[in-house]
């Protein structure tokens, strides 16, 4: 199982707790994890990736194992620790910087 941590607003929207577990067949890539997450929680569609282009929303970042994976190839395998469930895949909202 892949562990995914969502920003607070999306946890509320999806009705889930701090972490979500998703099952991924085949290569455990960022695309595969996000596809599995959206399949399990369709209410998240469009909130992490644009509905049409599937591009990451500009104010979200993807982290794992203390690395920023946001701009890494979307189909590259995630680190072993994520694949083995030892570390979560983090979806993080950008700091507002004092914005309203």
């Amino acid at each position: 199982m892949i562990r995914v941590v969502l920003p607070a607003n999306l946890r509320t929207l999806a009705g889930v707790g701090h972490e979500v577990e998703v099952e991924v067949d085949g290569v455990v890539s960022q695309r595969a994890v996000l596809d599995a997450l959206e399949a399990a929680h369709p209410e998240l569609m469009g909130t992490i990736r644009d509905r049409q282009t599937k591009k990451r929303r500009a104010m979200l970042r993807f982290f794992a194992c203390e690395e920023d994976l946001s701009d890494e190839p979307i189909d590259a395998p995630l680190p072993d620790e994520v694949q083995r469930g030892k570390e979560p895949y983090l979806i993080v909202g950008a700091i507002a910087g004092g914005g309203l």
């Binding site: 920003p7 509320t12 929207l13 509905r51």
Partner: protein, 371 residues
């Protein structure tokens, strides 16, 4: 005893406020969708327990919500707003051509007769329709592909379609308004559109009486008199007696004719309300006084309504969808401010009371009169 339900969209969530017909004591439920912009919530005239809500946030995009129990519980529904066919372009702030790009839903207008049908006005400006209670959305692309659309340019809030008026006596008629393109009318259920801006004059565009390019802020109509439309433009309050074909200014003695809201009394089609704002530079009320102005003559002659409203040190704004009227015998009028206050009048504006004082910035206020 009749009940009144207010649907208040704010910068940080939606609130449902209820009262009996005396409108003295209010119960506030919320925030629903906490932390999100709720641009608009509106109930279906065909089924008052069916409420649609637009929830968005810069981080996470657009989410649509539906309640089937009067706002007690909510369910996310479809949020795919896909422009049909060629995307095309509109003008950007620097006058370059910018592809149409969906950003958010500004306004939801449920059908007058079918609870499963609802229209959505979106940014970048277009009109969408759902016939399955918000699960899926289809663009009525005739508006966005109007020959003038490549010349439309956004206002400070974006290129947004924010006003949708349906008319029970002309079921195929839809009136919309776009900032800052102007007003448009369809008489064939949204297939084709015509600009209805004749008589508007805007000194902030190169050709002040151009066919399009006007920053229309809001339009209101009384259902008993659908050919009479009232408009709050960026500057100027206007009136049309022929469904928008021609407009004339009715700003009269207003202290400022800049503003956002305009609404019509539920039982007096010639009684209208505006909240003058000092200017487009300042975006707060003139002289530190929050005053609703009422005209009982369909414009030109206005009286200030101040009883119960702050008359010093007040610097709030009232946004375009943040005023509404109920249909009780003594018409209730409601509005919300950028300072988080919601004011209610149970006597058609003669006196006011703050029924919420510390909400987030209010983006929209709608009311349902429940029997």
């Amino acid at each position: 005893m009749a009940k009144v339900r207010l649907l208040v969209g704010t910068h940080k969530g939606g609130f449902v406020m209820t009262s009996d017909e005396r409108r003295e004591k209010w119960k506030i439920d919320g925030p629903h969708f906490a932390g999100w912009d709720v641009y608009h919530m509106k109930g279906s005239p065909a089924d008052p327990d069916r409420i649609y809500a637009s929830q968005s946030r810069g981080w996470f995009g657009q989410v649509q919500q539906r309640s089937d129990d009067g706002g007690a519980t909510w369910k996310p529904v479809g949020n795919e707003f896909k422009y049909e066919g060629d995307i095309k372009t509109h003008k950007w702030y620097d006058n370059s051509d910018h592809p149409y790009e969906f950003t958010r839903v500004w306004h939801l207008e449920p059908s007058l007769t079918d609870a499963n049908t609802v229209f959505a006005g979106v940014e970048d400006a277009s009109l969408f329709k759902s016939t399955d209670a918000g699960e899926t959305w289809s663009e009525l692309s005739g508006l966005r592909t109007h020959p003038t659309a490549p010349t439309w340019a956004p206002g400070a809030g974006g290129l947004c379609l924010h006003t949708i008026i349906l008319d029970k006596t002309h079921p195929d008629r839809i009136v919309t308004a776009i900032s800052s393109a102007g007003a448009f009318r369809s008489d064939d259920a949204g297939k084709t559109w015509k600009p209805i801006n004749k008589g508007l004059r805007s000194n902030y565009i190169p050709d002040p009486d151009a066919e399009v390019g006007h920053c229309v802020h809001h339009i209101a109509m009384h259902p008993s008199r659908p050919n009479v439309l009232f408009m709050q433009k960026h500057w100027d309050v206007l009136r049309s007696d022929d469904a928008g074909d021609n407009w004339h200014e009715v700003s009269g003695n207003l202290p400022s004719d800049f503003g956002f809201v305009i609404d019509v009394h539920a039982h007096e089609p010639n009684t209208i309300y505006v909240v003058p704002i000092k200017s487009d530079s300042d975006h707060f009320v003139p002289d530190g006084k929050l005053r609703v102005y009422r005209s009982r003559s369909g414009g030109d002659e206005w009286e200030p309504l101040t009883k119960g409203l702050p008359q010093k040190d007040c610097y709030v704004n009232v946004l375009r969808d943040a005023m509404t009227v109920d249909s009780l015998d003594s018409c209730g009028v409601y509005f919300g401010t950028s300072g988080g206050q919601v004011y209610a009048s149970a006597d058609a504006g003669d006196s006011w009371k703050a029924i919420a004082s510390d909400l987030p910035q209010v983006l929209s206020v709608e009311v349902q009169t429940l029997s």
